[in-house]
């Protein structure tokens, strides 16, 4: 019976229901997605025991030129751990070597986290299956235990309930699965941790505390539990003092150029990071969009209410009370809005994977994003709120005081009408909000596209990056010989035009950053130091001011170097002068700068744009070495390369093989996606406001049809009537555009006094948007007026 009634009701006003449900569903899905992010970032509790007393401990390096946060030495950290009186618990973790899961045919890359035995105890998390690390995995025990991240367990092992006790192969070593981490695990500064696996702190195949005596790393973090009642200021003072003491004892050389610091930050703050600002900005944008949609639909609802005046009045006349009509209307609207919200929740659920793809790295804990209880409650609140609003609008037009007039209303313009003020207000609000959304999203599009399309500086066409893994080959000599074979065999491949060598891929790893100094001992900065073969620079299409390496340069004890423009600018503004100057990595041995290389840019990842020092290539038995292969763009090139390596030695492995084009594309992918989202937001808001203005103008014109009909019948000129009507209808649009512009200008002025906010408006674009908006509004207003004026006056007089 209910379904029959519902279908009958739907058939009577198909357009209204479809427009309402789908407009709300789309807008609400955006609102609910953002709310889920708000909930995740601000409200969702951390899955830790007493998280308010947990802090992240990191080190930093301070120089006269600036400050590099998040640079920590393991021994200094241990010194702080052993000598402080502020912490009751202290655990550490990092990630270092790249691993593949050799169990599986496709040998997927896997992030492997190293953790001290007490990390999970300090956090207070429980295993999903089996156990987490305990004293068995203490540093020194070298236990081959592994904990699977929840998603790794689900994805690669299909959630096998018997996984505990089984062995898995990470690169060339086998580990025993002792447990599975919980699905809500988060770790400060690392995102998507559910995709990782955990091994004991002393079990990495490359990194060890002993081998890293002097290195300061960005990836090493510690979690500490602060004693109750401790003063954070006192702790900060103690930490810095201990850090300097530890550095003096353990890494004294660093103190020549750096002040060593150590600091703590609350775990929630670290996990939230920049997420809070991003999510708040998204919230503002989506709220504006929601406001536009609601105004749009409210004006439609008002128009519908006006058309239903007589129905409501008749109900009043036959004994309906305000309460009864309100309940009736509310029931109807709850069903309609509830349907829209249900659809929105569905869309939101599907959108999470897109959000995770786009925002991973920018917003933390995204792998735990889901529809929470708070989101469901929020959506119920929205349902009730919007339904109440609609019911209020529906019933406000009729009351006991105006029953007789309402009973005479035909709903076609005679009788009760929406007041001019209300119509203008609705138009004005929509235009204001939409203008602001359009301006903001246009700037996002401009910024993200400019970044994504920024020149790379290198030629990427027909170029491939190959990283060969020699780790299964023992002995430097054997590796060296095999490396020579690799080089020569690659050159002989039919599809290959040229091969150049580089110690690490063009996409830099931050591990190989070295201090550089000029001849006066001034610290120039931390620079990458890749080793390249002659011709590598030219193969990438990079210009050199000066000369490239020669084949024998690597044999020299005091070999020359090439530096990039970024580093050269720190030495002198005159590049010619830089050629022939000298730099050092230790302020003892100096190397002549043979040439200055054009910069490489990484659109979408400015963090990769380091100063660089190129050193002549000389394979020294590294576990991994890279090659730049120039070959035709062919599907067969990878196959050829893999076969060639396989023939040389079966122990050789391809750590990675990809085109330079695809590598660069991946970096800018997020910018492009952000640009597309901004375009969609802007388009949706523009479309909604055009529909809204058109709808309201349509309505306003219809209620004035009679007047227009009289004027036409009296011989008024069509052009004159059109002009007069348009001037009247465009007034609220223009006024709200002026208001929106003024509001934006005021906000911009305010932002200048807020230090953390930097807004850089593009005035030309804003002006273009303003004019475009005005023209578009004129067009959507023109059409309904033109339609009425084109009719027979008598039809307007009869209100047909």
């Amino acid at each position: 019976m209910f379904i029959k009634t519902a279908l009958a009701t739907f058939k009577r006003a198909k357009q209204y229901y479809l427009t309402t449900v789908f407009t709300l569903a789309i807008t609400l899905s955006m609102v609910l997605s953002v709310f889920s992010l708000v909930d995740l970032v601000f409200f969702a509790p951390l899955p830790y025991n007493q998280s308010e007393s947990l802090y992240v401990l990191e080190g930093g390096l301070k120089t006269t030129r600036g400050y590099s946060p998040s640079q920590t030495n393991i021994h200094v950290t241990n010194y702080v751990r052993d000598n402080n009186d502020a912490f009751t618990e202290f655990a550490s973790y990092l990630t270092w070597t790249g691993y593949k899961l050799y169990d599986l045919l496709e040998q997927p890359n896997l992030r492997v986290m190293l953790a001290t035995d007490n990390l999970f105890d300090v956090l207070g998390v429980e295993a999903e299956l089996g156990r987490l690390f305990n004293k068995t995995e203490k540093v020194g025990n070298k236990q081959p235990s592994v904990i699977l991240g929840y998603r790794t367990w689900q994805t690669h092992y299909q959630g096998d309930k018997d996984i505990v006790g089984k062995k898995i192969q990470l690169n060339q070593r086998r580990f025993t699965v002792i447990g599975v981490a919980p699905d809500n695990l988060v770790i400060p500064t690392y995102s998507n941790i559910n995709d990782a696996v955990w091994i004991p702190f002393d079990m990495d195949e490359v990194w060890s505390a002993e081998g890293c005596a002097r290195c300061y790393m960005g990836g090493l973090k510690s979690i500490v539990r602060v004693k109750e009642g401790s003063s954070l200021d006192n702790i900060a003072e103690q930490l810095n003092s201990l850090a300097m003491q530890g550095a003096k004892l353990l890494t004294p050389d660093m103190l020549k150029n750096y002040t060593i610091t150590t600091y703590i930050r609350p775990v929630r703050q670290v996990i939230q990071g920049d997420s809070g600002d991003i999510v708040l900005m998204l919230s503002v944008g989506v709220s504006l969009l929601m406001a536009i949609a609601l105004i749009n639909l409210s004006s439609m609802q008002l128009a519908r209410a006006v058309a239903k005046i007589k129905t409501v009045a008749i109900s009043f006349a036959f004994g309906a009370s305000n309460k009864q009509l309100m309940i009736e209307s509310l029931k109807h609207n709850l069903v309609v809005i509830g349907l829209a919200v249900g659809l929105a929740l569905l869309i939101t659920g599907f959108s999470f994977s897109l959000v995770q793809d786009l925002a991973s790295g920018s917003i933390s804990r995204l792998d735990t994003l889901g529809i929470s209880v708070n989101t469901v409650l929020f959506s119920l609140l929205l349902t009730a709120g919007i339904a109440l609003l609609y019911s209020y609008l529906e019933l406000k037009v009729v009351n006991e005081q105006n029953l007789t007039t309402s009973l005479q209303s035909s709903g076609k313009g005679v009788g009760k009408q929406m007041s001019t003020g209300a119509s203008h207000l609705l138009i004005g609000l929509q235009v204001t909000f939409s203008f602001m959304v359009l301006v903001a999203s246009s700037h996002v599009v401009l910024d993200t596209l400019s970044e994504a399309l920024r020149d790379k500086g290198v030629e990427t066409k027909d170029k491939w990056s190959l990283v060969v893994d020699y780790s299964q080959i023992e002995g430097e000599t054997e590796r060296g010989n095999i490396h020579k074979s690799v080089f020569s065999q690659l050159e002989k491949l039919s599809l290959v035009q040229d091969v150049k060598a580089i110690s690490e891929s063009k996409f830099p790893s931050a591990r190989n950053v070295q201090q550089t100094f000029d001849t006066k001992g001034n610290f120039l900065g931390s620079a990458l130091r890749p080793r390249v073969s002659p011709g590598y620079i030219a193969a990438l299409g990079l210009d050199i001011v000066g000369n490239d390496f020669e084949a024998t340069d690597h044999e020299l004890e005091n070999y020359p170097v090439l530096i990039n423009q970024r580093l050269a600018d720190k030495i002198s503004t005159n590049t010619i002068e830089v050629v022939g100057s000298k730099i050092s990595f230790d302020n003892k041995t100096f190397y002549t700068v043979k040439g200055v290389v054009e910069n490489t840019y990484f659109p979408g990842r400015k963090a990769y744009e380091y100063p660089e020092v190129y050193v002549p290539a000389n394979y020294k038995g590294e576990r991994k070495f890279s090659f730049l292969i120039i070959a035709e763009n062919s599907e067969l090139i990878e196959q050829q390369v893999r076969e060639a390596l396989g023939k040389i030695d079966s122990r050789l492995d391809v750590a990675s093989f990809s085109s330079l084009e695809s590598q660069f594309s991946k970096l800018s992918q997020k910018n492009l996606s952000a640009a597309w989202i901004a375009i969609i937001l802007a388009s949706v808001s523009l479309l909604m406001v055009c529909i809204g203005i058109n709808g309201i103008v349509n309505y306003m014109v219809q209620v004035r049809r009679y007047d227009l009909g009289v004027k036409l019948a009296m011989g008024a000129d069509n052009k004159r009537l059109l002009k007069d009507s348009l001037i009247e209808l465009m007034q609220p649009v223009v006024m709200s555009l002026v208001f929106a512009f003024s509001l934006g200008f005021m906000l911009l002025g305010y932002s200048k006094i807020v230090p953390d906010i930097t807004l850089d408006p593009n005035w030309l674009m804003i002006t273009a948007i303003w004019l475009g908006f005005a023209l578009l509004s004129l067009l959507v207003s023109f059409i309904p007026v033109r339609q009425v004026l084109a009719q027979d006056p008598i039809k307007a007089l009869r209100n047909e």
Binding site: K310, T311, F316, A317, F318, G319, A320, Q401, L403, T404
Partner: protein, 239 residues
């Protein structure tokens, strides 16, 4: 002595249009007994429809008293007024005022819906009323599918449905041709014979004379109030 179910005492009503204040009713007083068939007639603009709207609690007077079943309407709250409209008064409009989206049966059942009757009860009563106006076969049609005369009969059935006992009828023949108009008037007479109190507003003297009693209005005042008793017509002239 029959019950006085409606009593109007010194009702005034004016309408404001810009700066102009037009007094439509200038002090109207009369009462109606149960079972009466009263017509209110007069020239266009004399205030008869305004008076009927006040009697139907669709409008409020500027001053004066209006009592329904001895209860003062002015002291009632909104819920009480709605209850009186639903339980005690059935209204028939000149322009029918049927709801286009509802079927004939749903239109007739409307007063019962707000009284809280169950769907089955409403349906049964609506069918009964539909039968009374001889349109039982039109139950599932929509108003737009009916002629003017049929729509007005549906409107009468709706006024009957609540079993309110009082029917206020505003120019029921105004939008009908004479044949349909006669049919509607015949129906009203039949209903009155069955015990329904009817107050009819009409500008047509033929139809006004069909009532037992005719109240004539002019310029917002009663100029005559005629009674028809069982034996003879007593005319009372009001100064």
């Amino acid at each position: 002595m029959k019950n006085q179910i409606l009593k109007i005492s010194n009702i005034t009503k004016s309408f404001k249009s810009g700066d102009q204040n037009t007094q439509v009713l200038k002090g109207i007083s009369f009462s109606i007994e149960e079972g009466e068939f009263v017509s209110i007639s007069g020239p266009s603009g004399c205030g008869k429809s305004t008076l009927l709207n006040i009697m139907g609690i669709l409008d409020t007077p500027d001053s004066g008293d209006y009592m329904v079943d001895g209860l003062q309407v002015a002291t009632m709250n909104a819920s009480q007024r709605a209850k009186v409209r639903g339980d005690r008064i059935g209204f028939v409009f000149q322009s029918f005022n049927l709801i286009d989206e509802f079927t004939v049966l749903e239109n007739i059942a409307l007063p019962l819906k707000y009284r809280g009757d169950s769907a089955d009860k409403r349906r049964a009563r609506a069918q009964e009323c539909l039968a009374k106006v001889n349109l039982a076969d039109k139950a599932d049609l929509f108003p737009s599918q009916l002629s003017g005369g049929q729509q007005q009969r549906i409107s009468i059935a709706r006024a009957l449905a609540g079993n309110s006992g009082i029917m206020l009828v505003d120019e029921p023949t105004g939008n009908l041709d004479s044949k349909n108009g006669d049919a509607v008037m015949a129906l009203l007479q039949e209903l009155n014979k069955q015990g329904t109190t009817i107050v009819l507003v009409t500008h047509d003297p033929r139809y006004a004379d069909m009532a037992q009693r005719n109240i004539q209005l002019r310029d917002g005042l009663i100029i005559s109030d005629g009674h028809e008793t069982n034996e003879n017509l007593v005319q009372v002239e009001v100064a």
